[in-house]
């Protein structure tokens, strides 16, 4: 499960994420982080589901962190895609790659919706909803 954690000014300096990792023992993976003294946004991948996932998300909420779940990241128009590959190497999380038959594969779990592929696609086949 990928979620965006939004830290407000009042909690940005607390070690919330590491505390939750220590508490639950779940190795939360940071995919992207933008933090300064005023606020922070961290995109993480949480390798958990069901109750365990809910527990972790609640721990963040209780600590004052706003949790945004990624429901949909990219929309690829497969009719338009020419499988050129222009989106692949710019992708910072390797969420796009070629299959054996040189068609494009999108691995949604890895996507952090940064949008660099949207700009990179020459035939405008990628959109962010």
């Amino acid at each position: 499960m990928r979620v965006k954690l939004i830290y407000s000014h009042s909690v940005v300096e607390k070690p919330i994420l590491s505390s939750i990792v220590l508490k639950t023992g779940i190795p939360i993976n940071i995919l992207e982080a933008r933090i300064n003294a005023q606020k922070g946004e961290i995109i993480v991948s949480i390798p958990a589901s069901g109750e365990k996932l809910e527990e972790i998300l609640n721990l963040f909420r209780e600590s004052g962190v706003q949790v945004q779940e990624f429901i949909e990241t990219l929309r690829i128009d497969w009719e338009k895609c020419v499988a050129c590959g222009a989106c692949i190497s710019p992708c910072p999380t390797r969420a796009l790659r070629f299959r054996e038959d040189w068609t494009l594969e999108f691995i949604e779990e890895k996507c952090v919706a940064c949008g660099i592929c949207v700009a990179a696609c020459p035939v405008k086949a990628i959109n962010m909803p």
Partner: protein, 509 residues
């Protein structure tokens, strides 16, 4: 005459076999496999034709159009299709629409390449034209809607297509570059490349023994012909190109796709497939060349210099590029293509099918392509305006330990907005602007070193003024210190200097 020159079969013999339905046709990939399993001798004896293919962005593409005459008639001097300018330096209702021509209303989102795709798809296109009116062509303005069926001719004529191979791209600079080679991440974050390598037509006959003037080809899903070498044809370095033409009305939008490269411009993805008749052992050998035998350089697009002067980072094979990562030093850098290998393969397959079905026959070139020569750079007459010509040499600087209020006073006294900060040895350590100082005073800061920008955007004395102006615009700044190679500040260049000293174009210095 060496053994390799000895003719195995003639093009006429191959066409006879195609007619009889017993020609042996393989795609380039199949040829590679056959040579690996059975050896070159067997493959050369068995195979009559190898088909190649490529599908990539080819900016030097376009279409000659004849609109037909209206009543009253017009001598179109300016013309737009879906707001994309058409070249009108031709007769009254002839025009040329280039793939890189950009919409005057939609910018980089839509251009000539897209109009060509829309035409081929049978979509309606807005035609607008203007004229000064003549005795024989009195009309001065026309606005109408056309489709490809309304045109008398729509002839694709592409001055430079089908590069034999193309150097790959990376970016050493510290910011993302948006180029015709796609998105290049900073600090060598990725590598992009173009071309189908082992499927690429000219790579399969790099000595141009079978590909030449008049060769019949697969072009955009229809039939096309090679009408000569392409512009910038560079056989000496192994970068041959082709000029091709074909009837757009017979083509298919699956193989002609309008495209835009972010912050660069528009282009056209063109599908080209060329049959390689296996006439001798040498051609059999080149037709079986593999990705790991075809090499290009990776060039640094971080340097704003002439394309052939871009520094070479590494020489690399298409096999390594296509593997998805290239090792440079101790780093594995992600690599990906801009042209479609999947479509290249589909084109080679389609051409093979046409030949096997007996609907596509081979042609003997009427003239060979030039085998020697390389393009020249453009000479710039007069001296290029450089940073050193415009900069102020009388630079006022400050030290990191200076008091902010004193520095602010200095700025007001001298009437300047940019102040380079130098260390004790005179080397550039930072910069502050009047805006930085205003904010610092408001925040009650004391020393310059607390507030100065340490990552300074600089210029060098011999850099072209256009390059420096673009850098300033990209970083949204209005001044740069000019430094020497030892990082000593030797001048300062501001937008004020530029607007004051370049008055009325480039004349007054």
């Amino acid at each position: 005459m060496s053994e390799k020159d000895e003719e195995i079969r003639s093009i006429d013999e191959i066409n006879e076999k195609i007619k009889r339905g017993d020609a042996v046709v393989l795609t380039a990939e199949e040829m590679i496999n056959l040579v690996e399993s059975s050896g070159l001798e067997v493959a050369a004896k068995e195979v009559d034709v190898v088909t190649s293919g490529t599908f990539g962005a080819m900016c030097s593409s376009g279409v000659f159009l004849n609109f037909g005459h209206s009543d009253p008639p017009i001598k179109m001097t300016r013309c737009w299709l879906n707001d994309v300018p058409v070249y009108k330096g031709l007769a009254a209702v002839d025009g040329y629409l280039g793939a890189a021509s950009i919409s005057e209303t939609k910018g980089f989102e839509y251009g000539g390449g897209h109009v060509i795709e829309d035409l081929v798809s049978g979509r309606e296109i807005d035609l607008r034209a203007e004229s000064y009116g003549t005795d024989c062509y009195p009309r001065r303005h026309i606005e109408t809607v056309i489709t490809i069926d309304d045109l008398n001719q729509a002839t694709l004529v592409n001055p430079r297509n089908c590069y034999q191979k193309y150097d790959a791209a990376a970016n050493s600079s510290d910011r993302v570059l948006y180029t015709y080679m796609g998105t290049l991440l900073p600090n060598y974050g990725n590598i992009t490349f173009s071309g189908a390598g082992q499927l690429n037509p000219l790579c399969k006959d790099p000595n141009y023994e079978t590909i030449g003037f008049g060769t019949k080809i697969f072009l955009g899903g229809g039939i096309g012909y090679i009408i000569g070498e392409g512009t910038q044809h560079n056989p000496t370095s192994g970068f041959g190109t082709l000029m091709v033409k074909g009837d757009l009305k017979q083509m298919n939008s699956r193989y002609l796709r309008g495209a835009s490269f972010h912050r660069y411009g528009t282009t056209l993805y063109v599908g080209i497939g060329i049959p390689i008749p296996i006439i001798n052992m040498r051609v059999a050998g080149t037709a079986a060349l593999k990705d790991d035998e075809i090499y290009v350089d990776i060039r640094d697009y971080g340097a704003a210099v002439r394309p052939d002067l871009r520094p070479v980072i590494k020489r690399v094979s298409y096999a390594e590029l296509r593997s998805g990562k290239v090792t440079i030093g101790d780093r594995d850098i992600p690599s990906s293509s801009l042209s479609s290998y999947k479509m290249a393969r589909e084109i080679a397959e389609t051409l093979k099918k046409w030949i096997l079905e007996g609907t596509f026959f081979l042609t003997r070139p009427i003239e060979p392509l030039p085998k020697h020569g390389k393009p020249k750079p453009l000479k710039v007459k007069g001296r290029e305006l450089r940073a050193g010509d415009i900069m102020s040499r009388n630079v006022i600087t400050a030290k990191p330990s200076d008091d902010i209020k004193e520095v602010a006073l200095k700025l007001v006294e001298k009437g300047i907005d940019h102040l380079p900060v130098v260390d004790e040895e005179g080397k550039l350590a930072g910069i502050v602007t009047s805006w930085d100082l205003a904010r610092a005073i408001a925040q009650d800061k004391r020393r310059l070193e607390e507030i100065m920008t340490r990552r300074v955007i600089v210029a060098f004395e011999n850099e072209s003024i256009d390059v420096v102006v673009r850098r300033m615009a990209q970083h949204n700044i209005s001044g740069v210190p000019v430094v020497d190679r030892m990082n000593n500040v030797i001048g300062i260049l501001t937008t004020d200097d530029i607007s004051r000293k370049i008055v009325g174009g480039r004349t007054a210095l």
